[in-house]
Structures are given as C-alpha cells and as structure tokens.
Symmetry: C2
Subunit: 225 residues, 2 copies
C-alpha cells in the first residue's frame, strides 16, 4: 500500500475529474479551503443535462458538514431532473478582483471557486426537510431562522429538498497581483489590481412593518463570513 | 400562418427549452433585457457535459451584438470540450438583494439572470480572434484595450477563442419587495429587503509601475453599466 503524499488530498475529495489539468498550483482539495468558499457564497450554479441539453441554473444552497442542501418548487425543471438521480455539478464562485497587466495577454481575475460533483438525493423525512431549510436560511442570513415564522406542514409539502454529499470536490484560486513578461515591465501602462467584493446596502423595511419593529442586528450588521 | 402575439418574443429567442415552466411572469425573451444583463455581468457559468459528467465552470466573456465570445488556454477542458461542438449553456446571474419575509417560506432573492443555449464555434481567423479579445477585455474594463499592449502573434496562437450565437435565450428576473401570506402580516417580525451589489475597491497599483504613471480614469471611476 502506498501512502498518499499529496498534502492537499487528506480529505479524499480529489479524483481524476476534480484534478486540475492546467495550472495545478491554483487547485486545492483542502477541506477547510473548500468549506470556506462554500460558506461565503450566496448562490451556486448547478449544471445538469436533460434531453441532451446541459443547463447551468443559479440557486441558493446551504451546507451542513459534508452535506449540501438545495430546495425549490417540486415543479422546477432543475429539481425534478436532479431528483431522478442524474449526475450534477454544483459550483460556487467568488469574484475578488480584476488584474490589469501591462499586456492584454496577462489580464486576469482574482477569484475563488469550488466545484462539487455528485448525485443528489431527495429528502423526504419531514424532520430532515425542516432542518435542511434551516441550514439554507441560516446560510443566507445567519440568525433569521429563529425570527421568521417557520414552515407549516402545507408549506413543507410544497418544497422539494435535495441533498448532495461533498465526496468529490475541488477549489480553484487565483489570488495575488499582476504578472507580466519581463520585456513589458517598462511599458508606460498603469498596472495593478481592482478589488471587487459584495456590497451590502441599507436595509429597506417593508412598508407594512409596524413602526416599533427595529431592524434586527443580523440584518443591520450583515456581512458574509 | 399565425402571427406571434407574445410581445416578449419579438426577437425569436423563445423556444420550448427557454420557456419558463414556473412563474412565467418572471421570464422574459426581450432582447434589450437580455443584452443589459449580459453587459452588466463580469463572469458567466458555462454548463457542458463530458464523459457523462456535467460541469458548471466560471469564465469571462464578451458580447458583440448577437455573438458571445469566450477564450482561454487550448489545454482547458472547458474550451477543448466546447470546441468539439457539443451543446452548452452560458448563464449570467446578477444578485440584487435578499428578501426577508415574515415567514421562512416566502424568503427570496432579487436577481436577474440570462441563460443562452447553443453550440460554440472555434474562431480561427486571426483578425476575428483579435477582435474577440478586444470585445472581452473591453467588456470587463471598457477602455483598457487602447492602453495595454495588444497580443502578439505568439500570444494569439496560445489562446483558444470560441463564439456562441445568441439564438436561443431567456432572462429571469425577480425584482420587487416582500410578499407574505395575509395571515402573517401582523406577526412581530421585521421584514424587508437587503440590497446587494458589486463593490469596487480602491485601485492597488503594481509596485513596479513608475511613479509618474497615473491611474487611468476608466479604472479610477470603474463601475458596471
């Protein structure tokens, strides 16, 4: 038996399909890295194929340990297709900046992304369904579940919940600054980095909310982890 | 011959595959709506399938009329697969806010997204390749192409460029505020909207750039259309 000596593969998430063929130095199979990107993202894009046509559809998600939950209407094509147990890919991408090099060729972006491959399973047990919704809501707005009215039986029946185990996954990261050819370094071109992030605006209260109802701290001080 | 009476289908982008099955009021096949979302986005997610596994991969893009361009290394799995002429989906998603309803069930997000279905074609002519790169660079940072050193022949050869016609596409939009059940309106729960947008930070100059080189206006005043 050979010991796996890849320090980034201690979590068994690396497979030929999640191994970067290009720029492997940008790839990671480290669990903490993957979990942090999944936790910071608000939406994912899910790839699946139906009738010979692939789709990439944005949706919300939540993470509970090594399990990802997604949800939606039982009538949604995305969820109906995935519930059949077809192969899928769940991707989360965070944009961190634009890299402006002296040459067009070396322009790039700072980003962090995670790709999870697998097959989703339908969650039928009411208890797990409710817990999955809590995970999704508290992923998007931590603290919200305890405040809002939780789903009743009718509402719970009207939601399809799927779970995807994080068994095969990889992260890809492009941090850092400008890289240029040595012969371009003296060109009279401004070069640098333009940082990008998620801006959170001022909360806008629903006009029907009673005046004495104050903005909860988790909304007022909202930021991503 | 019957006249098409769908006001949102004046551009022929609507097909059974790009027609929303759920909440059709959130869907649009209006060209101006689709173009505006494509122009505001910085990255897209491309769905494609290879060896029975779908992938959703983030990448940059640019639009020239009804043509989308993407580019990358000839060694990239994404571009290699797409260059074979397989069906693909290009999705752009803009997040505009979080909707906090009184009930968990009615939580939602404000977003605008576009899905384009089709098959990419490889761009081989040097002239179109160069023009495609200009479209992509000026999509991300308008004005940049005129400043940076444009690709030489060797660099141009080292880039694979693909084009995708926007023949089959749809937009999906969730604007507006909170929707709650009438019986929940008096619950003592704060409800409202938390706006989200793209934040652009202060430009960080590359340490090797000469002191007299000022930040160009298109960087200093950078914002999305």
């Amino acid at each position: 038996m050979t010991r796996n000596t890849d320090a980034h593969d201690s979590d068994g998430l690396k497979t030929p399909r999640t191994t970067l063929r290009r720029k492997p130095d940008r790839g990671s199979h480290d669990w903490e890295t993957i979990a942090a990107i999944l936790d910071e993202g608000l939406i994912c894009h899910i790839a699946f194929e139906t009738d010979g046509q692939p789709y990439a559809i944005p949706t919300n998600y939540g993470r509970d340990g090594r399990t990802l939950y997604i949800h939606g209407s039982p009538a949604s094509r995305l969820l109906q297709s995935l519930a059949e147990g077809i192969p899928m890919c769940l991707t989360v991408t965070l944009l961190d900046g634009i890299i402006l090099a002296r040459s067009v060729f070396h322009h790039s972006m700072n980003y962090r992304s995670v790709v999870v491959l697998g097959t989703a399973r339908r969650v039928d047990a009411e208890e797990e369904k409710l817990q999955a919704l809590e995970v999704i809501v508290d992923h998007i707005v931590p603290g919200r579940w305890g405040d809002a009215r939780i789903p009743n039986e009718r509402e719970l029946k009207a939601v399809l919940v799927l779970r995807l185990e994080i068994d095969e996954a990889s992260a890809k990261l492009r941090p850092g600054g400008v890289v240029d050819e040595p012969e371009d370094m003296d060109l009279p071109v401004w070069a640098g980095r333009l940082p990008l992030s998620l801006a959170v605006g001022e909360p806008e209260v629903d006009p029907e909310v009673a005046l004495e109802q104050v903005v909860p701290a988790y909304i007022r001080d909202y930021k991503r982890p």
